[in-house]
Symmetry: C2
Subunit: 376 residues, 2 copies
């Protein structure tokens, strides 16, 4: 099968290399690149060279960003080409539109690489759903923030030193807000919820990051046998679902707490299979390239996963109700102190907690909030 790559950055080069070395039945015949970077005879800066080439059956989009990725994916699907993408932002924004176009044109739209890098997460959700409904999912979906928290905890670093190291290692961008403010995790949570719950997930979910986490916060949690991780999570019950992105306090003796460095761990709970957890590299040229190539091979084997989001689930954030702790001098006094300057607020939904926290942040930009583990 002949395919085209849109983009030849870290991920695109990984895909190209893996296919050349290990997948003889697939050929990367064209590559879309910027006009000043056409270093390979397969490269073009004109997308129509790819769109109008009937020999190209599949387009891999790994440019990132919303436009023109959105338009190129739309056009490829409409032209009857399969699309495989690692671009979580564009999938989170336009999943239902892409899914509908793919179904109309009977082509595949596969997105394994958009969540969890090399971890077979989306394919596992798809497989579990052949038998089970999925009750809930949660996970460490952003390697950069896990690296920061893990370095703060194991090496006793301050947040800004750990962030600087993540930037030096290439895990974090110069502007790290997509990572540390939870935006990246929000995109991955939306995509996971769409697939797990078969619903066109809300976009305006509550999102809290770890920008204000301090070493002292981690020490306080540690004194209670807990640590903190940034989780994307979703839950479904009957005809309702909820999603949220926020720091969550978890027992130190849990798999999630043990996830080192920039690794990811994503979990789901199915009715018959019980809990399943998947761990691996959530980013990087070869792991993400691997996930894309697995999707490409699936297409050559005939896989046509059609998502239709036909379940009319209602968004109901009460499903994720839990207790929260806030460390801030500006936090409203609650009946319950957790530690000096740290208050507990019982039974809030994630949007209620987020609203309260935004009001606190206006007075105290250094405040930190985390959900406590649900009891029982």
């Amino acid at each position: 099968m002949k395919i085209a790559l849109l983009g030849h950055g870290t991920v695109g080069r990984g895909v190209d290399g893996i296919i050349r070395s290990n997948v003889p039945q697939v050929e990367v015949s064209r590559i879309l690149e910027l006009p000043d970077r056409l270093s390979d005879p397969r490269m073009t800066s004109d997308f129509s060279d790819i769109l109008n080439d009937p020999s190209i059956e599949l387009v891999v989009e790994c440019m990132g960003g919303l436009e023109p990725a959105h338009e190129y994916i739309r056009a490829s699907l409409a032209a009857g080409k399969h699309v495989v993408t690692s671009n979580k932002a564009v999938v989170a924004a336009f999943f239902s539109e892409f899914a509908e176009l793919a179904a109309q044109n009977d082509v595949a739209f596969l997105i394994e690489a958009s969540v969890g890098g090399g971890i077979p997460w989306i394919a596992s959700i798809d497989k579990v759903r052949r038998i089970d409904d999925i009750r809930s999912f949660q996970g460490i979906m952003n390697g950069t923030t896990n690296y920061i928290i893990d370095s703060m905890r194991r090496e006793e670093l301050d947040f800004h030193v750990a962030l600087g190291r993540a930037q030096e290692l290439g895990y974090a961008e110069r502007d790290p807000s997509a990572d540390i403010d939870g935006i990246d995790v929000a995109n991955k949570t939306i995509i996971s919820a769409c697939v797990a719950f078969d619903v066109d997930c809300v976009r305006d979910l509550p999102v809290t990051g770890i920008r204000t986490l301090t070493k002292a916060d981690l020490d306080l949690f540690a004194s209670r046998g807990l640590t903190v991780k940034l989780f994307g999570r979703g839950r479904s019950q009957d005809d309702r679902y909820a999603v949220a992105v926020e720091p969550v306090a978890i027992p130190v003796m849990s798999l999630e707490a043990s996830v080192p460095s920039n690794f990811n761990l994503v979990s789901l709970e199915g009715f018959t299979v019980g809990p399943l957890k998947f761990y691996g590299q959530g980013a990087g040229s070869l792991p993400t390239g691997n996930a894309i190539v697995q999707d490409v091979i699936d297409v050559t084997c005939g896989r046509r996963q059609h998502y239709d989001f036909s379940r009319g689930l209602v968004y109901d954030p009460t499903l994720l109700t839990s207790d929260y702790v806030v460390r801030s001098s500006a936090a409203p006094v609650s009946n319950e102190a957790w530690a000096p300057g740290v208050w507990v607020y019982r039974r809030l939904t994630p949007p209620q907690a987020r609203k309260m926290f935004e009001e606190i942040l206006e007075k105290d930009a250094s405040a930190f909030m985390a959900a406590l583990p649900q009891e029982g």
Copy 2:
């Protein structure tokens, strides 16, 4: 598709229930049971009723044991029926024979449920191998021994109290030797190596269990930041491979150390995808039933995984060389004491360590041995 179940114990009932509730495209039309247990009109005690019924396209073997399971699987494959099995003993003993018969008759022989219960382990190895060679695998493959060690560690129980509880909960058999002596893990290790390395794995691998592990041993490891888990593992390099089953000391702050209760965690390392780890219920009616039903659905979707073990890999246990510690009054004095009564032996292969340990056990049946983590 019409299928037959051989056996209607815990796993068979799980399969029957999951298919009835969730898989309308499959019908369990016959069930093989003992003559005094024919409680359902689909049941027969005569295997030829199933073998000679051309409407039955697939046979699920979940009787356990070597015979007659071996003969029934052989006959089913030879008759052109697909076979799905959860029986690790019979797969470990006869994998290459079954694989050859399946290929000759162009039918599927699928074994997901034989290792790791509901964890998609075998399918994940198969998928990784479409792109990558697998360098190594390892894992907690036996829930009973993990439950025993975890209870000893978290609840400060003695080995025999923890074992008794595992028996009360139905995790361990009345004769627990298949679990605590590592025989169950050995079968799963053989199967994993066959699939991961594409080799007809040796059957006489070195196997050491946890029968002699004490609370004091765990306390000693804990004082070094370690704990112990029973691992099956395999490694391949160039044209060689090695496998072993033995207790391994691991850092307390690792995913493996955090695995609770009777859960399993299995890991592999591929060249492009890096490390992947999979966690879930390694046993039980619904998780194991789920794995079987996933294999059945794969067959209805056209999956024909043919294993041919064509790589002429040489068994070379030096690939798993590591340092070992032995706690025994009868252990040969080494140059290096790890603690009073505990000696370190450097750079042994697993068979060398096993041979030494067997000689020690003849003088001191209470001795305990574990591999130390490999450095670097």
